[in-house]
Subunit: 323 residues, 2 copies
């Protein structure tokens, strides 16, 4: 395992030096001095090769995604990301691979001023576990469980492009070369909505990041908040590529279930709609109202004014009704 | 992956409910409110099946060890353990396995009042990554880098039993049945020196937990503190089983390099020797003085008054000189 010591080189080359990191990589533990009156948000996500990303994914994209999916969870709480611990399991030490992987990690870390504070490198089948931490002011965080009937449902950005890229990789959908760039960017380099999450502290009654798929993640909010929701499917934001490749209805179906979007789904009370829209618009973050919460504890879907029945997986029945 | 949701059941059955956990398992992040004027210590360790534990290790022992090795790192900083995040990658969902694995995890967590605050469960080759956090008062933590020439070197407990158990598993050493219990207990259920670590805040100038092996871990302290060390090998604490199975000298050689001990190696100034010895003795924690630090930046070893030359791996040359 001596060569695994070499890896420390790559990880000590980060630029970010936060003042609240008293001791970084190199001792038994890192030591942190978080600002007072802040809560610490903690999340952990594992990416396994062949499960969470195709085995031939570029090392830079793997590094990016390992950080992005965790920053996305912090964003959904309204937390400001601060520290990362990285557990990397590698079949062998490949310096080229490591160098590109670290480039993917550090690019995001530098952008958000997040410091890698430690971790562990072991030999085994390729797998990456990141524990990300962040700060949120006391009483200013966002959970899944505080949404109320009557609140409006919003999403940031557009949904489904990552799922479309994956379908293309799997040979299930053809894409013209000119369209591949954008949708593969969404799959390989998802942009966590870090700034949107922090802005939403003042407006959102609940938030979650869309990793499992819109319907599934909306289900988590509904269950935690004991509410139901009515979705207006024609309002679900999909890209021009999605619409042109699949047609509107199949595109919507994929956007409902695809996952890997890392956009935020959040609820806002009637009183806060304008404030939220202004704040996020000023930050250049697109948001779309896609429905409203209600007291039914069920999710119902409407397309062009007509009720659509969804099964447990959201899109299957819908897709069939299109076939 | 629906069945992986079942796993949440097992993890939500923990008893520990810390007041500083504002939000535990079940949202995008956990939220923590650490006591003020405390530093947060963070460590991450991965255990891969077949690398860090034999593939036929009992699930309870795997769970125990995944927590223990991390609490051991916190102990080496003098931190009080508080929160655990668990990333578990499993080839398949086996309820019996999970139930025993969780028993191993929660037994240690309950003993030390550590709360599981979240994590991720994924499908893949068996691997466990734990990120453990703890608290240490500002200016009362212990690093590897503050040891001084003249300080005395100590270890807690006895070294080498875990390495002996591993050699027995590998068919390299025979053990009589009556001896197996104790040495396998050390391999499968190492006891992190959590309380010793906290007591040492007031006395130790440096500390590390012995995971790689005494010589290797002493090397980390020497390098970080820019000191050397002279070890009196006959003082290295080894168990009666070790001594009777291998003979004194081979037992010492194994204790120098074996690793997996999870005892603490620490340095104490001349002025603090008595205070440290009294404090740890009152807590029932055995400590042994095994040498002294000096200004050479080298590690030298003496056995029965005679200098022994060690090679890079510590024990090989020594073992050869015994052969």
């Amino acid at each position: 395992m001596k060569e695994f010591d070499l890896i420390k080189h790559y990880f000590s080359e980060q630029i970010v030096k936060r003042k609240d990191v008293i001791l970084g990589i190199g001792d038994d533990c890192a030591l942190l001095a978080p600002a007072e009156h802040q809560l610490i948000a903690v999340t952990t996500d594992t990416l396994v090769a062949g499960v969470h990303f195709p085995v031939n994914t570029s090392p830079k994209a793997i590094g990016h995604k390992a950080i992005a999916v965790n920053l996305s969870d912090l964003a959904a709480m309204g937390a400001e990301p601060t520290w990362i611990s990285l557990a990397l399991t590698l079949p062998e030490v490949d310096e080229q691979w490591l160098s590109e992987f670290c480039a993917g990690i550090f690019e995001l870390c530098e952008f958000y001023n997040v410091q890698l504070i430690g971790g562990d490198t072991t030999q085994g089948p390729l797998s990456i576990t990141v524990t990300a931490q962040g700060l949120a002011p006391k009483d200013k965080f966002i959970t899944r469980s505080n949404a109320k009937a009557g609140d409006w449902l919003y999403v940031t950005g557009e949904l489904g492009d990552a799922a479309l890229a994956l379908k293309n990789l799997q040979g299930k959908v053809d894409l013209v070369e000119a369209d591949k760039g954008k949708v593969f960017e969404q799959l390989d380099y998802p942009k966590p909505r870090v700034l949107a999450g922090q802005a939403l502290r003042d407006y959102a009654t609940s938030a979650i990041d869309i990793s499992d798929g819109l319907i599934s993640d909306l289900g988590h909010i509904c269950k935690a908040s004991k509410v139901g929701a009515k979705l207006n499917l024609e309002n679900i934001p999909i890209s021009t590529v999605m619409r042109e490749t699949l047609g509107r209805d199949k595109a919507i179906a994929l956007a409902l279930s695809g996952g890997d979007d890392y956009e935020l789904l959040f609820s806002v009370s009637e009183d806060n709609k304008v404030g939220m829209a202004t704040a996020l618009s000023n930050m250049g973050i697109p948001t779309t109202c896609i429905g409203q919460l209600n007291g039914t504890e069920k999710i119902t879907t409407v397309l062009d004014g007509e009720a659509i029945t969804l099964n447990a997986h959201g899109f299957e029945h819908f897709a069939k009704s299109e076939a």
